[in-house]
Amino acid sequence: MDQFLYGLPLIGLVFELIGYLIAILPDIAPIVVKASVPIGFAALCGVMCERSGVVNIGIEGTMLVAAFVGWTAGVYLVPVLGSEVWPIFGATPSLVVALLCAVLAGVVVSFVHAWLSISVKADQIISGTIINIAAFGITGYLISLLSKGSPAGAGQFHAWTPPTELTDLPVVGWIFETILAQGPLTIGLFVIVIAFQIALFRTRWGLRSRAVGEHPRAAETVGIDVIRLRYRNVMAGGVLAGLGGAFLSMEATAVFQQGMTAGRGFIGLAAMIVGRWTPLGAFGAALLFASSVGISQSILILPPSGQLGDMLAKLPPQFFDALPYLITIIILAGVVGRSIPPAADGQPYEREAAT
């Protein structure tokens, strides 16, 4: 009974916290969604690769290269293609072609990872590490060469203005506003998450990919080309990472900065684990992690009152930066809800010798 009474003030605090979160939700939701986009794309890339049995910790580097190529392509394309603004998303021809370049860059980097891990059968974690080191080096080298002339990029995508009939709806209007009053890559992410979830669990491709990730030998026996499918999926993951990188330098900002991914590729990996290697779960985790950023900002601007406010004010702001990683460690360690990777994840596939 005593123990129960000890718990009472704590329960009160939890309710206060929930109340505060609900109150600030409409305000922080757009920030959270924006922050979740690069993490979400990185997490989807991770799901795509690891579901088919290739560990990819080079997502951070892949995104960085894509962000750089997208911005740089813009610099060179504007004089050629001009910047006539189309009526939607503030898109210009150069911006759209630059986006394609960024995606292509993501695919190329992923191809290197696929080649090293599938064909060369090098250790996949070392291969990913090298991609990260190389991406940081080469983009850092090139940007400090390029920025001597301080060129302007192709600008950035703008947010869409959804019809007011939707956003003015009572109670749910802000949800439409949050999702639809965004740039093309953010809206695209929502579509991709749902499409990917359906594709992975409801289509032939999805079944085959999962089979290749869980038991490649069995998959090969029923006639699936394990090597080819892994190559294809890792490169498709490159498309996703490329979009994530492009978001950073072409939608969230209009510039490229050295090391601008700032660990988002790694948080994406964490989101993939917390989301148990499913697209929907991974994106949910990305939203959760991003809200850690949103909450820390709103506490600074609009602190909650009373006991809860005092407690939160005592926490160092860095606590919220560390929170996603702590959650991931706790989940990985199996303290709450164990998360288990696909069985053949990380193992190079050897075809059985024809005899």
Partner: protein, 374 residues
């Protein structure tokens, strides 16, 4: 005699070829990027850049001392990652352990800044090693208890370390009245200089740790267990070793070495800490361990090479106008060719060459599925 020579060639061939290939790729990058950006084709630029790189790193007494100073944290970090590799563990967390080591040493160092050097230095260095060991213990413990893969947990802990460091420096360690958050300098806890202007005692103890590393691995029972566990976990278990204890022990010692690297950088070079304190030493350590193929002598040489490249980078940027980041490109290309060594071997017809990373096949193979350590 020729037998020994061919053995030595077998070990050295791939690292040397990787280094030579990366120099070639690097010069192509220099020439091509200059051509793309400035529109001029200057083949001599690569030569200018490399000669500035060499003279900036080993061209004078002062440059050599700088190279040695820069190499020591890399050496310790390389030993940290190498030890884990030997046991079949991939410690990507060297970066986090490095930061925690630096933080531990600055906390104690600032406290003891007016104590006698003979007390302050060992205690501050020891605190860094202890903090690094603690940060290495966590992923080891988690892996032993729950099978959580050390690659993921150490990556997460790297970011937690960054947050803790920033919170500590902007909070309790912050000097009141300073413009931006920063700690006090470590004063007497700074590593004593024994060579030139900034050559600290790290020049002595880091190579000594490499000797200890070799002794541990090849002359002790524990080292034998580590090598068996790295080569074949099943064999280790059948021989009655306890993989759980071995994992925890190895990760803690690996963390201790990385923490020592952090303490060496802080007490030997920066002497105080800001919220943005952090070098890429932790990540470069992975490169050092791979290039040195986890052997003590190899790690020492690889650390000296990377340390020299870091040191000469500034001179290269000033004298040849080639960005210092080229060093990162060179390091990554060396690694690329090392990892692609099966292909390199085929192209250069190196039958006898050893890739030297045979044991590393074990860590991703333990990544998938439900892991249980028996």
């Amino acid at each position: 005699m020729s037998d020994r020579l061919s053995r030595a060639w077998g070990i050295l061939a791939l690292p040397l070829i990787s280094i030579i290939l990366s120099i070639i790729v690097g010069s192509l990058v220099i020439i091509a990027s200059e051509w793309l950006v400035a529109g001029e084709l200057k083949p001599g630029l690569a030569l200018d850049a490399y000669s500035a790189l060499v003279s900036g790193s080993v061209g004078s007494f002062r440059a050599i001392v700088n190279t040695l100073t820069n190499s020591m944290p890399l050496m310790l970090g390389g030993l940290a990652v190498g030890l884990a590799f030997k046991a079949g563990l991939f410690n990507i967390g060297a970066q986090g352990q490095f930061l925690m080591g630096a933080l531990g040493s600055v906390i104690v160092g600032v406290q003891l800044r007016e104590s006698p050097v003979i007390i302050a230095v060992p205690l501050a260095l020891g605190a860094g090693m202890l903090a690094g060991a603690a940060w290495g213990f966590i992923p080891g413990f988690l892996k032993a208890v729950s099978g959580a893969h050390e690659v993921v947990t150490t990556i997460m802990l790297n970011f937690v370390a960054i947050a803790i460091l920033a919170a500590a420096v902007s909070g309790p360690l912050n000097v009141i009245g300073s413009q931006s958050p920063t700690t006090l300098p470590v004063g007497n806890a700074a590593l004593p200089v024994i060579l030139g202007r900034n050559g600290t005692i790290a020049i002595i103890y880091a190579p000594l740790m490499a000797v200890l590393y070799g002794w541990l691995l090849f002359r002790t029972t524990r080292g034998f267990e580590i090598r068996i566990a790295g080569a074949s976990p099943d064999a280790a278990r059948y021989a009655g070793m306890s993989p759980k204890r071995l994992i925890i022990w190895t990760m803690s010692v690996s963390g201790m070495l990385a923490g020592m690297a952090g303490a060496t950088d802080l007490l030997g070079a920066t002497h105080q800490m800001t919220t943005t304190y952090g070098t890429t030493v932790g990540f470069d350590s992975i490169a050092v361990a791979l290039l040195g193929r986890t052997s003590p002598l190899g790690i020492v040489l690889a650390a000296l090479l990377f340390g020299a490249m870091r040191t000469g980078a500034g001179a290269m940027q000033i004298q040849a106008g080639v960005p210092a980041e080229l060093v990162g490109v060179l390091q990554a290309t060396i690694l690329f060719f090392l990892v692609a060594s099966p292909v390199v071997k085929r192209i250069f017809r190196l039958k006898g060459a050893r890739t030297g990373l045979e044991e590393t096949t074990t860590f991703t193979s333990t990544y998938g599925g439900e892991a249980t350590i028996r």
